[in-house]
Symmetry: D3
Subunit: 255 residues, 6 copies
């Protein structure tokens, strides 16, 4: 099985972290492809950043599909473009936020999310609402760190996150913590050791979820809402994403 | 006051309809700018179409901001990119679905939506959930028409829509109908006459909502979740959307 | 267009504030009629106060309808009797709470309400639930002021409200504040200047919403739930509200 | 124990039905006072009817309090004015809709409501939402009968109701039926025999709930939201409802 | 009428408390049978404890049914096995949590629960969600006491509970407190006197609710979801709970 | 990795089906232990059946823990006892309903469940509510088959299920079907071929979810709600489930 981890930013360090994290948990026989978007920002901290990174994600998913990968992980905690990506994919596609929510809700009754800047909390809250995890998630907390600070400051950043996680465990009375940024993928074990409750990290969670679903022989339903998009002429800066009448489009049905 | 109506498709006929619809309801002193995206598809019927049209919308909103417009309407019933657009706008931004939901919920206790292809219903359902109109909307109904058929077949298409609206009134027991596609902007009066219940059309509703909010002296909150995005280097096909350290970015605050 | 602002209390100072507030935002060509109820209390701070003021509101709406106004604003933050008022009105009717919720939810992702006495919070919470704004409103906060203190103490009262608004912005992390009392209509600009985030005030918001909806040619749906009430003999102290078989009742249908 | 059943209409036949129904289920030692409002309509089928009947209900509750009754039932399925009535009562107050929802949710997992005119369904739906019974109630169904037809046509009306109940059992797969009108109080046993599933009728359910709560030594909480209203001068047609500084008002606290 | 109060623990002191509490509120003519489970733990503070106590509850309900009791109370605040118990009972069955929620929601708009160990809060939260009281209950609070400490420490334990109740009234702004453990049945009056707001205690509330429902001539619906279980051969340690083809099973229907 | 699949019934045919299903999807290196409960019914079709089977499940989970398995699957679509089982397990525990909901919600936007008898639908609906999948699941449908008929009638039963699935796809407009009974584990491929949309079967889904979570190095959180139960003396028919002060209990903490 081949799983493509899409880093929706142009920061190569994240791509490397993703690869390391995914390989650490991958089953024997699973090959991890870790890529970064060609179109997008160096980090994602707003709806605008998400919108522009989505183009890069769709480019990458399309390339991954052409290369025959069995599933895709969108390695940003806002799960940008996950529904659009599902439409153009045969196999399963999952964002790291959604994946972490699923896992955390199975190993605990209530969890909290610890993320980066406060302004990203609304993105997480909308995902919790759409995916149905509002009861399970007691609180979305911001550490106040910018995404790229995670790279630059290393363990200093980690201390702030550990402190926020500790507060979450005590104040929110949760049994698990979800780390709210792909940039924290290398910190999960350390944080878990520090705080003593299970820490769910999205890149690894998503990798295992894709393995599970693809391993069931299941992929994105191509009937109904997530069917391949109707082939259309695209213009301007998104022209290169045009889907012709051949390829995936050949199997679409109108519905 | 100047309001920009963004047609998120490249089909000029919609731009013309939007202009006519908005001008029909605009107050004296309101100038309507009707534009079509340069980047995007000819019609929007999937999450993929929405994702690519969002780039064109962000381009258009940025141009509108530079030109000093007082507010923006996103004239596609899926409200693509509305949160990203809000981040880069000073004035109010509203999608036609959200606008229609607000209006319909004030003139009736329950409404139904009549849209185009069945696969677009999920987009509407997610919006109803996020915006809080799940109780007010009894049902999202598809007429089965493709968006561009609205252009090509004219009144024949309209008959199918009228029939679906009639069924909605009787079966869903609603007091108002929301038309679920910008392409229906010219059909609203005819349909209302045929079915005898108020018909809310999004382009006109959104135009009046922008007039109302801008007329209150209010715009998108630049504090918190919808603050201007942090300036970042963008790469690849979205490179041209990069926001520099001057301009809006000069007033951002980190939060 | 003529819009009637109904002050559901007998305190004339509120009627004057409403007039000033509404006129400040009204479009050219909109005439504001500001009236106070003849039947009702001097201020509204309980369900009981709401129930008795509703009689005065229905009297006023009926008079406004006879005078041919195009829409009605109920200028109390509990929106007393808004559904009954809609039944006897041709045009749109909106309460100032509902109007403020609509506006605040468009310019921000999350808002908080700052109101008067703690006991009125439940009224606001019920409205948020019925109208679907529970996710958008993070918290309803009481300043602890009685409604009439707003009149008597002027700027002293305002200081307490400003402080509560500041706390809301910081603790609730909201991008907008909704003022929870018609008596605060003259304080909105001052508060917004003090706290630096958009402040939504209900009388002005409602005025613009009525302008918007009536400007669309839409009024309260007379089909279904909000149709004119069936004509009935009324007794006792509400006898004078009896609706005869002529007038509005002549267009009712049984459903 | 003395329980007052308030018929919020001026139709004496309902008062008599209420008396008979309540007496049938009352415990030994419970005295039933059945009264009709002096101010109000002959039947309640709209929000307007509810609003005007509320005045009569408040008059009656105040009289009942003066007479020392231990609790009040509001015998209209829309539960008009129940929160205002609670504010001026020492003992428990319950509407027949709320009472029936409580009982039905204990004897079944899912129930349906069968009511009169379609336009009253929205009132029931709002109550289900506010009281938290949306999951337990699968459907609110209208028989299409006007309230007063229940009086006039007797068993013919009953046949239509029985048929609607049967459809509810089969189509909605519910284990209990709630009758959605006080005017059906005398039909419950007959309908239950016909359809073979438990039928919950509100007047009787409310009587027993008041007995239960008053029997626990509990009454409406006078701390917080439902405290006695602040004493205020009332004007116009509601002047007679003014609450002086003595009496209940003497125990109020500002909060 | 005979009501069986099932203490789902093997601690006889609770059985005695239940008897005293229920008899204190029972109507003349109601006979209280207070029993303890034969199979189960000495106290219930986890899902595991609930699961094993359910066997004892089902044994007791079956014995009660054989003895012809008119209804059953499950006297543990987690309402263990209440749906299974309803299936094998003819009359009404209610847990003390559900009963207390119903009562508290009628005498106040918002209440808080004060329970024992923090780990039991999730059980209460799930019940609030399933029964629809999430809006009415502002907070579930733990006193930190183990259930059996209530027995051993008496008034010392009570002081901690009183303090937590006081905090609930002030911080949660509620009009009523629900005591979250059957072991607090004897403390309710004392606590209510101390804190000055209505205190709802489950054993007494449940007793009166059963009286009310059985007094209406209603019992658990035997049509649909709560019909008698299909007769089946049981094995192992639950073998003795087998329901034969005679008895209740004789009236089942397959659905 | 060793995963224990617990058949909560005494019907050995299900145990064999579970083994075959789980082995079909298990990764290389995963060993499947398929067991049946010793205490319980031959099939589960009611809350009563669930309650008694829970004892057998707890016995089996305890044995599995002693044998050092890495996770547990509860192979009944009602997920009986899953929270109690989690409390006594170190690794992850998942029911087949919950597992199927997670998988179906990732590969489609909306799914429907097709189960056995109508009376089991309420169990599924409660799970959907607690787990947060109410929006994703459009409808729970009963095929009308008893669980054991699945064994006896084989392909005839399957035809009825296929027909119900087809109706679900067309009427509910869903992109995936969840099979609502462990007894359908061997039918999934056939049904998927017949109806042409992805079919999610719980035993296989749960097996892969356990592989995923255990593969992440995560197990049930032992902090908070799902910590090991406090050691207690058990009586009667559940005496053998007593957890001593040694073993798991030695690591508990009071919270």
């Amino acid at each position: 099985m081949r799983i493509q981890i899409v880093n929706p930013t142009t920061t190569v360090a994240f791509q490397e972290k993703n690869l390391a994290a995914a390989q650490r948990v991958a089953s024997a026989g699973t090959e991890i492809l870790s890529v970064s978007v060609k179109s997008g920002p160096p980090s994602i901290e707003s709806h605008f950043d998400e919108a522009v990174s989505t183009i890069g994600i769709l480019e990458a998913v399309r390339e991954g599909e052409a290369a025959g990968v069995d599933g895709h992980v969108i390695a940003c905690f806002g799960d940008p473009g996950y529904l659009a990506a599902r439409e153009i994919a045969r196999g399963p596609v999952i964002g790291i936020a959604e994946a972490a929510f699923h896992v955390a809700s199975i190993i605990s009754t209530r969890f909290s999310v610890v993320t980066t800047l406060a302004r990203t909390k609304i993105i997480c809250e909308h995902l919790l609402q759409i995916h149905g995890f509002e009861h399970q998630c007691r609180k979305v907390r911001a550490s106040g760190l910018e995404v790229l600070e995670l790279e630059e400051t290393g363990m200093a950043a980690c201390r702030d996150i550990v402190e926020e996680c500790r507060r979450a465990v005590i104040e929110d009375e949760v049994g698990a913590i979800v780390l709210g940024c792909a940039g924290m993928a290398d910190l999960a074990d350390h944080i878990q050791n520090e705080i003593g409750v299970p820490v769910v990290e999205g890149v690894t969670a998503a990798t295992k979820m894709i393995e599970a679903i693809a391993g069931l022989g299941l992929g994105t339903s191509k009937i109904g809402d997530l069917a391949y998009p109707l082939p259309k002429k695209l213009s301007g800066s998104v022209r290169h994403l045009e889907i012709g009448d051949s390829g995936p489009a050949s199997v679409i049905r109108k519905n």
